[in-house]
């Protein structure tokens, strides 16, 4: 029978998607717990956090707005050099402020280049984004008097974060810094995708023709999200420079942009955690395989990718859902009172 919904129902339902799930909370609790759990793994954890933020930036445009890009490294590298130069010449000493400024510099670059990128089809976009990052890489090479060219940017000294926390030798502070920045950026991204703006992006991705027929200014929405994405990519690049006190031409490399696509293929797009989970898996996999066969690790990475794509994400999501149902069942049987916690519904036995 037809039921009459109220404005309250509608509001509650629309907000439901944005609610934090226990699984999400667990994810972040674990992420922060790694600070104490794996003190000897700070380097790889830090690299994963930076890669995760970088992948998040691509997920925002690819997973939510359907813009495919092979040029995220342009923003990563631009902000990386920006952060390195302002620290080297003492323009902005405090790392957090420098980080935000580097993000805005990348965003400005994103805004300007968005007009080139947003015309044309997927293939055009791949080529234009790739072209922009190649051009920037070559400019950085040409103006070696500023960037240090092939030798990289030497003599960068990073002041203590907030004037208090020095980047120590063990990478503890660097990792905590990256993790906090990742978390804050994630919260902002999460807020954006569950806003009306974020919903309109999904509409544009789903059906451009209809989106403009219901009054959505498609072009400006895409320009906006591309700019935001450049901001996050820039933050990731600046983090790398700040935590290594170094920046070299490879920040602009095609591999860096291509790695991101791999990360999102592993983790999945359009739910924000894809980039995060994908980055961790990719880094761990790379580390593990490189330890096993230092020479041929790329072979195995390649094979994992082929397998993932052939099996298909839906089938794997199905396995994960089945495993989850099984685990909640087991937990429910062991701890009868925990059913309410896990949200599992069981038949009364």
């Amino acid at each position: 029978m037809t039921t009459t919904p109220t404005a309250g129902d509608v509001s509650a339902f629309l907000k439901r998607r944005a609610r934090w799930s226990p699984l999400e909370a667990a994810f972040w609790v674990f992420a922060f717990a790694t600070i104490w759990l794996f003190p000897d793994k700070y380097l790889i954890l830090k690299d994963s956090a930076i890669l995760a933020l970088f992948a998040l930036s691509l997920d925002l445009i690819l997973g939510y707005a359907g813009i495919i890009s092979l040029g995220q490294a342009a923003f990563f590298g631009f902000a990386g050099y920006f952060a390195g130069l302002v620290a080297k010449y003492g323009v902005i000493n405090e790392p957090v402020i420098a980080l935000i400024c580097a993000g805005f510099a990348a965003a400005a670059l994103g805004f300007v280049t968005s007009f080139l990128v947003l015309r044309g089809s997927d293939l055009t976009r791949l080529m234009v984004t790739l072209g922009v990052s190649l051009m920037l890489g070559e400019l950085a090479n040409r103006y070696s008097n500023i960037t240090g060219g092939a030798d990289g940017l030497q003599g960068v000294e990073i002041a203590p974060v907030l004037g208090r926390f020095n980047f120590d030798l063990y990478g503890h502070n660097a990792y905590v810094y990256c993790l906090i920045v990742l978390f804050v950026c994630f919260l902002i991204a999460r807020r954006i995708v569950y806003s009306p703006f974020g919903l309109s992006l999904r509409a544009v991705k789903g059906n451009v023709l209809r989106a403009s027929a219901i009054g959505i200014p498609v072009k400006w929405r895409l320009v906006s999200i591309y700019t935001v994405s450049a901001f996050f990519a820039g933050i990731a690049g600046a983090l790398l420079t700040q935590t290594t006190a170094f920046c070299s031409l490879d920040v602009f490399s095609l591999e860096r942009s291509a790695d991101l696509l791999l990360v999102l293929i592993i983790g999945g797009t359009g739910y924000l955690y894809g980039g995060l989970i994908g980055a961790v898996i990719y880094k761990l996999l790379q580390d593990w395989i490189a330890n096993l066969t230092p020479q041929y690790w790329q072979f195995w990475i390649g094979m994992v990718l082929v397998v993932i794509v052939l099996i298909g994400r839906e089938r794997m999501a199905g396995w994960i859902a089945a495993a989850r149902a099984f685990l909640t069942g087991v937990v429910g049987r062991l701890l009868p009172n925990s059913a309410a916690l896990t949200g599992a519904t069981r038949d009364g036995q």
Partner: protein, 249 residues
């Protein structure tokens, strides 16, 4: 006064003339039907009205204002919305989300990036009204891709309606809807508020003659006859060119 008017509208695709000298006047509050045999240029005219296609020549006036050079999404803001002959829906969204999208876009809060979806009561209140009017309440949480076709057709109109148009262009709203779901659709179209002017493009003669108070016939891209339904039905040329063809078919 005509709320929507075209003056000498023309569209050529290379050597093909899809529309020629179409001067159409839709009165305020009218239930105006645009009919014509297949390939007569009806959808071409709609596409020019909404800005999807650029006319080769001629002007389009909405409420006395020349909108010929205005981009599609701006025309929606100026009060003209359309539905599509082939569903153009957001398959991954629910009807609730799709309608909410249109409403918040109209209220100018579609670009809000810090507010959560569903947190503005002006928007949610209006969503409820539209969901009720278009009989979508019982499926409002269902992903659009798996809705029955009749419900999808209703959503197609609901999305256009949600932008509160003063002129609503319906492009074959009943096309392909199975008999069982037809009644609901037609009743909803009949029940559209009278303040909204409707320009209907339709093949279905029963719907046209039961609904329209004015009919324009388009043949080979040219406006052929324009008048009250009785006159159009009696017009021997229309019978010969259009209705005759229908009967033969």
């Amino acid at each position: 006064m005509a709320i929507l008017e075209t003056i000498g509208l023309e569209k050529r695709f290379g050597g093909i003339v899809a529309a020629h000298d179409v001067s159409l006047a839709v009165e305020k509050g009218a239930r105006h039907a645009l009919i014509g045999p297949n390939g007569a240029g009806k959808t071409t005219v709609i596409n020019m009205l909404t800005g999807v296609l650029r006319p080769t020549a001629g002007r389009i006036m909405l409420e006395g204002r020349d909108i010929s050079d205005i981009v599609p999404h701006e025309r929606v803001r100026l009060g003209m919305a359309r539905t599509f002959q082939i569903n153009q829906l957001f398959l991954d969204l629910t009807p609730l989300e799709s309608i909410g999208l249109v409403v918040s876009e109209r209220l100018g809060s579609g670009a809000d990036w810090w507010r959560l979806v569903g947190s503005k009561s002006a928007v949610t209140g209006e969503i409820v009204e539209i969901v009720e009017r278009f009989r979508l309440a019982d499926v409002m949480h269902t992903r659009t891709a798996i809705l029955p076709y009749g419900k999808q057709r209703l959503l197609e109109i609901a999305l256009a309606f949600a932008s509160q148009p003063r002129v609503l262009l319906l492009d074959e709203p009943a096309a392909g809807v199975p008999e069982a779901e037809r009644h609901e659709l037609l009743a909803t179209i009949e029940g559209l508020p009278t303040e909204v002017t409707v320009l209907l493009i339709e093949h279905d003669m029963d719907l046209v003659f039961s609904f329209a108070d004015r009919i324009s016939v388009l043949v080979n891209g040219t406006l052929f006859v324009d008048g009250a339904p009785e006159d159009v039905a009696r017009d021997p040329r229309v019978k010969a060119v259009y209705l005759g063809e229908e009967l033969d078919a």
